[in-house]
Amino acid sequence: MREKELEKLKDYKYGFSTDIENFKAPKGLNEDVIKFISNIKKEPKWLLDWRLKAYNRVKVLKEPNWQKPKYPKIDYQDLYYYSAPKSFKEKPKSLDELDPKLIETYNKLGIPLNEQKRLNGIAVDAVFDSVSVATTFKDTLTEKGIIFCSISEAIQKHPDLVKKYLGSVIPITDHYFATLNSAVFTDGSFVYIPPGVKCPMELSTYFRINASDTGQFERTLIIADKGSYVSYLEGCTAPMRDENQLHAANVELIALDDAEIKYSTVQNWYPGDKDGKGGIYNFVTKRGLCKGKNSKISWTQVETGSAITWKYPSCILQGDNSVGEFYSIAITNNHQKADTGTKMIHLGKNTKSKIISKGISAGFSDMTYRGLVDISPKSMNSSNYTQCDSLLMGNKCGAHTIPYIKNKNANSNIAHEATTSKISDEQLHYCQQRGLNSEEAVSLIVNGFCKEVLQQLPMEFAVEAQKLVGISLEGSVG
């Protein structure tokens, strides 16, 4: 039995689960559960009202079904909406009080929470099931006036900021999953960068789903005030389980005048086994608002995990001269499915956006790029450049491109290019002739195909992502 488990872990090394006692809300979605969550987090009344308002909308909304990857109906009454390690009933004050099992889990994942052990100087907020367990390097950040904490803490300590910005980019009147998140979100990260401050280190959140039958509904809110800069990283893993688990997060970014936010994701949720059993449903809403003049938001994502990935990190370019960028690598293997892309909504003058998307599908998987570029009549002198390339390995998989292009302004330009191809025999032959075996050759070629996106990632992430690209495609050639 044990050996079997180990054998399984070879394929997905983050597939272990931590045996930790959990404290859960009763199963199901109803007003009481929402009150329970709000109560346990000692939230103010306005937030509970806000959650209930969202819940009332969820009741009338219908789940969308226009996406390419179809999935069996989710029973929302059969999920736990809150799960926390039991030792968290009272939040530990410092790392010393943290349950050693949790620290061990994160060490295993390669995320040491102990600051001394960290050489690379990245501040981490670790989220375990429904709660944030630890945030590192707080003091260094506080000196600069940067707020980096869990959103629950922010609700207590910085209610004005939260009240002002929460839901300003993804309102509770949005689509089904986003609204569901507004009703039941449990934790997530909160970042505020004060005017003129360049954040001295990368900020990072690490999400981990541990308990079974839980959905993870985290909410991240990042505000970059005038003239500030922040680079934020997000990583995700989950244990291997036979059932599908739902992950429906909301991420809101707000960039004021001259501010810049760089948001990078390496998503490696459990993708399910070779036959497509189990895995995470990653239905995430990510949206950035370039609110101020000259602001910039850039999304970079490497999507290798999840049974189904369904997300469109978007930019609303409201401020004049604002810039939106989207760099994406999505890899699907075995029975994985992805429907991902971006939306660039140009509202301000002289706004620019750039989309580079690379999709690779292998095995029996299915990959769709879906994107929207919308230039409104008032958005003078705006431009967009889109390039989406797909690579197919074998004829059991699919690669699809569905761009929506709307140009309503005569002074604006949109250019779109897409190609679909396979790894050519000449390229493979050339590499193999020089001593690489076929898997190494494929890995090299794929990394070359993805280079434009990989080089957008911060250093540490880039190395990890590059390895991940190789691993995800293992066994897909031959």
Partner: protein, 416 residues
């Protein structure tokens, strides 16, 4: 929809139909009644809400077409610069058949065909067409026959015609090694009608179809044309759209490449102004190896007009070595215009070469400056650039006399 029900019953009563036909018509009528006209919620009609457009431009539609008294053909409409065969429709009714320049036993035009499809279409406008079009027509080009002169189908309306729905259905069969050159010419006196034309083409081995649809002359009608093409091996289809005159027009092409080495070419021009709204939607299905498709659509938009291009290439997992290409370009001349595109690829085979490109923007100021510095007026410079931009599409036409004809019709000089 009340109108539709009573008019549909009238159509059943006043036409001599077999039981099978009545059953088929009932089925289609039911489908149409339950869906109604497509609206923005249908993905295929996302950019062109025909339900709203009909409501706004026409209001109540009349679905029952009276048998009209014999109408005179307006000789001025005929395209005399080219010798041709003709089919002349007035208000949806066939008034003249002329295949005088062809071998009588090689080409057949059959009227009074039973109008029954094998499958119920998943398109409410086709359902509407099937429910209301009377007998359908069939054109048969026999084995090894190359049509000598192009066939021009004149689609005309009388000035008395208004708020009327016209449905027309023609099946074309091209046997082995045959060729058909077909021009659809639209010329209207009547305004504010909804015209729904449905063509089925079946292309046998080595056959060639060239279809040129010309909507050049100003009119206030709403038009939907659907080409359904099935291609066997080595067959070629070439479709060209000049989309200009109508208030609203949507041309749809659905092409199945079922035989190896078959190929499909779709070329289109949108030249729009005065709040016109036109769309071309394509779906090319590559089902077998070594098939090719090529699409080129260009728009020039002025004065509140809007063009839409929805192109889709589907490549089945069996269809290795597919070559598929789509390119759409648009010039937005002023700020009131809109260009929407959805160039889509759906691919299940790995050894393929598929790509698409889309670009839209304003006229290039530098080029205008260049031309003006060489003595052209702004107007001339603009015209030269726009014509040069559009003529690339017309130059794709493989039939020289027809290319010349279309250039003339469009008002381009021969040196382009």
């Amino acid at each position: 929809m009340e109108n539709f029900k009573t008019d549909f019953e009238k159509t059943l009563k006043n036409n001599n139909l077999s039981d099978k036909e009545i059953a088929f018509k009932n089925l289609n009528a039911k489908e149409f009644s339950s869906h109604g006209f497509p609206n923005r919620k249908d993905e295929d009609w996302k950019f062109s809400d025909i339900n709203q457009i009909i409501k706004k431009e026409i209001g109540e539609l009349n679905f029952y077409s009276e048998q009209l008294k014999k109408s005179e053909i307006d000789k001025n409409i005929l395209l005399n610069e080219i010798e041709h065969n003709k089919l002349f429709f007035i208000n949806g009714q066939l008034v003249q058949i002329d295949f005088n320049s062809e071998d009588k036993d090689k080409i057949e035009f059959l009227t009074n065909q039973n109008n029954i499809d094998e499958k119920l279409a998943d398109n409410s406008l086709i359902n509407l067409n099937n429910a209301l079009s009377n007998k359908s027509y069939k054109l048969l080009v026999k084995k090894n026959y190359q049509i000598k002169k192009p066939l021009i189908i004149y689609h005309t309306t009388n000035s008395v015609l208004t708020s009327q729905n016209i449905n027309l259905k023609i099946n074309f069969e091209l046997e082995e090694n045959s060729t058909l050159k077909l021009i659809d010419l639209v010329k209207d006196e009547g305004n504010k009608n909804f015209i729904n034309i449905f063509y089925n083409f079946s292309l046998e081995k080595n056959s060639i179809l060239k279809n040129y649809k010309i909507d050049q002359f100003e009119n206030e009608n709403i038009r939907y044309m659907f080409n359904n093409i099935k291609q066997s091996s080595n067959s070629v289809s070439e479709t060209f759209y000049l989309s200009k005159g109508s208030t609203f027009s949507k041309n749809e092409i659905f092409c199945d490449l079922k035989g190896e080495h078959s190929s499909a070419f779709v070329n289109g021009i949108f030249s729009l102004d005065k709040s016109k709204h036109h769309e071309i939607k394509t779906k090319i299905n590559h089902f077998v190896e070594n098939t090719k498709s090529y699409q080129l659509v260009k728009s020039v938009l002025e004065n509140k007009s809007r063009s839409v291009y929805q192109g889709k290439i589907y490549v089945d997992s069996k269809a290795q070595k597919t070559d598929g290409y789509q390119l759409s370009k648009a010039i937005l001349v002023d700020d009131t215009t809109e260009f929407n595109a959805k160039p889509e690829l759906e691919i299940y085979a790995d050894d393929v070469k598929c790509s698409h490109g889309s670009a839209s923007g304003s006229l290039d100021e530098n080029s205008i400056f260049y031309l003006m510095s060489r003595g052209l007026s702004y107007k001339e410079a603009r015209e030269l650039l726009i014509n040069g931009f559009l003529v690339e599409v017309i130059n794709q036409i493989t039939d020289e006399p027809i290319k010349k004809l279309i250039k003339n019709l469009y008002g381009l000089k021969n040196e382009y």
